[in-house]
């Protein structure tokens, strides 16, 4: 009973504090939709097919769900570790899993809100028309895929200092978006680079969910699962080292 109460309360307050944090909550949730509306809808430079519209919408949604995991784990964990909160939580009888599970739930919640708001913007702009099943698959893919970026963020947070963590996260976040080729098309010669990016694989899965996948989804699932488990394990091992 105590375990569940602790897990529930930890998760509740992790979500509340993240949504209240001025540099995280509102910007993280609203910015992707604003960028999508500006660059994907208003600045429509050429005639686009419905497929291209959907691909652009999916690309902005993928960009949006990367942020909560990278920043929510990367920056929050770095600050909390550096400032002694993690140490206090380890001294207190907090269930060991509660800290990471609460942050994972918060990341998933913010990723879901990002997906819903970008989807609502695309729907309202008349750019995307999907079946209920496609909307659900799209949402589940993005929320599940956000876990991979949480694991990357956790590894950054387990190593970086509180002040340098935002810079480290941006150093990974922005190049990963550009080098994944889903917002800015890259020449064929960049293919080997784009395949190294987890964002590319999430974008491919998102396109599958909306019926635009032209390849097998399993390799992308394997890459994202590998990133989640690999980075997550490295980070947890690092955080568990007490001395």
């Amino acid at each position: 009973m105590t375990l569940w109460r602790a897990l529930f309360t930890e998760t509740k307050y992790e979500c509340i504090r993240a949504l209240r944090a001025p540099a995280f909550g509102v910007p993280m949730i609203v910015l992707p939709a604003a960028l999508y509306l500006f660059f994907g809808v208003v600045l429509q430079l050429s005639n686009r097919t419905p497929q291209i519209d959907i691909a652009i919408f999916a690309g902005f949604a993928v960009m949006g769900v990367m942020g909560p995991g990278l920043f929510g784990f990367g920056v929050f964990v770095a600050v909390e570790r550096e400032q002694g909160l993690l140490k206090l939580k380890r001294a207190l009888p907090m269930p060991p899993s509660a800290y990471i599970l609460a942050k994972m739930f918060m990341t998933a919640l913010v990723a879901l809100l990002v997906t819903m708001i970008v989807s609502a913007a695309a729907f309202a702009a008349g750019k995307v028309s999907l079946t209920a099943g496609q909307w659900a698959a799209f949402g589940a893919t993005l929320v599940g895929g956000a876990l991979a970026f949480s694991a990357i963020g956790l590894l950054i947070g387990s190593r970086a200092g509180g002040r340098s963590a935002p810079a480290f996260v941006n150093l990974i976040y922005l190049p990963m978006i550009y080098l994944s080729g889903f917002l800015i098309p890259l020449p064929k010669s960049f293919d080997s680079v784009t395949r190294l990016s987890p964002a590319y694989h999430l974008d491919r899965l998102a396109l599958h969910a909306v019926g635009l996948g032209g390849d097998a989804p399993m390799p992308h699932v394997i890459v994202l699962a590998g990133v989640t488990l690999g980075f997550g394990a490295l980070a947890i091992r690092r955080l568990a080292r007490s001395d």
């Binding site: 529930f8 307050y13 209240r20 909160l85 001294a91 009888p93």
Partner: protein, 296 residues
């Protein structure tokens, strides 16, 4: 045999090449307020960190309620206030207390925690907007909200004003009255002198003295003789048994080994001597003597 709530047995702990604790044995007994004293770097926080399972010893054993200190069951019986710990600035004070209370089986009601720590007026304020002293009071509230049997307080009154310090002292006394054991590290020796049942003095990771405040004080065999006299401090400093003489306003303070003999000599030498006081050594003098001796 008295039960030990927390126990370090011949514990050594190194951080790289630095020896933080050197075969230290220290225990906490039921219902006592143990003050752990020592200069900076003596190993006080490391000793507490080991009892809380934050560090593993290089050698020796550590028990918390007879269990491994990393066990969540043992830690459910403990409250903690760290020397430096940051809390999420976006959460309100009441939310922080509710969060930490949720880790415990039978926490105190929120209203009681706030009344004990006089934080009621801060309940709906974000932690990030509080002053330094208010933050320490909230951290103190977090240490006791779980109704723990033992509380570790690492420098709890650093940065507090006189009123807030009084609140913390009063609450510590109340908790001890309820049977809660308290482990206190502090730089304010008067705090230990007023509150502690037992004092442990650490130096370079070793226990150099342990006992009641009176026992610790008794290691210093000097007393202070204070008086107003026509005698000159330079002359008095040459008297046998007089270790030092200093002037405070119009009075002289003599640190002496044999107060009775010095008082007799003073009265014989100056028939107009007045305002005479003899004061035994306090914990401060004892602490200074002990640590200086250990440093030699």
């Amino acid at each position: 045999m008295t039960a030990r709530l927390a126990e370090l047995s011949s514990v050594s702990k190194r951080f790289g090449v630095v020896i933080a604790l050197d075969t230290l044995s220290l225990d906490v007994r039921p219902g006592e307020l143990l003050a752990v004293l020592g200069p900076n770097g003596a190993g006080k926080s490391t000793a507490i960190g080991l009892m809380l399972g934050l560090h593993a010893p290089n050698s020796g054993t550590v028990r918390l309620f007879g269990d491994d200190p990393t066990s969540i069951e043992a830690r459910r019986r403990v409250g903690v206030m760290m020397q430096e710990s940051w809390l999420a600035p976006e959460l309100m004070v009441r939310e922080h207390i509710q969060l930490v209370s949720s880790y415990y089986r039978s926490p105190l009601p929120l209203s009681e925690v706030m009344a004990l720590t006089r934080t009621q007026s801060l309940a709906d304020r974000p932690f990030g907007k509080l002053s330094g002293g208010q933050k320490r009071l909230v951290q103190f509230a977090l240490a006791l909200c779980g109704r723990p049997e033992m509380i570790f307080l690492d420098e709890p009154t650093t940065g507090l004003d006189v009123d807030a310090r009084g609140t913390v002292w009063e609450t510590m006394r109340r908790l001890r009255g309820r049977g809660t054991s308290i482990v206190l590290t502090t730089h304010y020796l008067e705090e230990a002198e007023i509150l502690a049942d037992r004092v442990a003095v650490l130096m370079k990771g070793r226990l150099i003295a342990s006992g009641t405040v009176d026992q610790i004080r008794s290691v210093v065999d000097r007393k202070q003789v204070i008086c107003t006299t026509r005698l000159q401090p330079e002359d008095l400093a040459l008297w046998p048994g007089v270790e030092s003489v200093s002037r405070h306003d119009t009075r002289l303070h003599l640190t002496v080994r044999n107060a009775e003999r010095t008082v007799r000599q003073l009265l014989a030498a100056d028939d107009q001597l007045c305002d005479l006081e003899v004061v035994r050594a306090g914990l401060t003098e004892a602490f200074t003597e002990l640590t200086q001796e250990a440093a030699r």
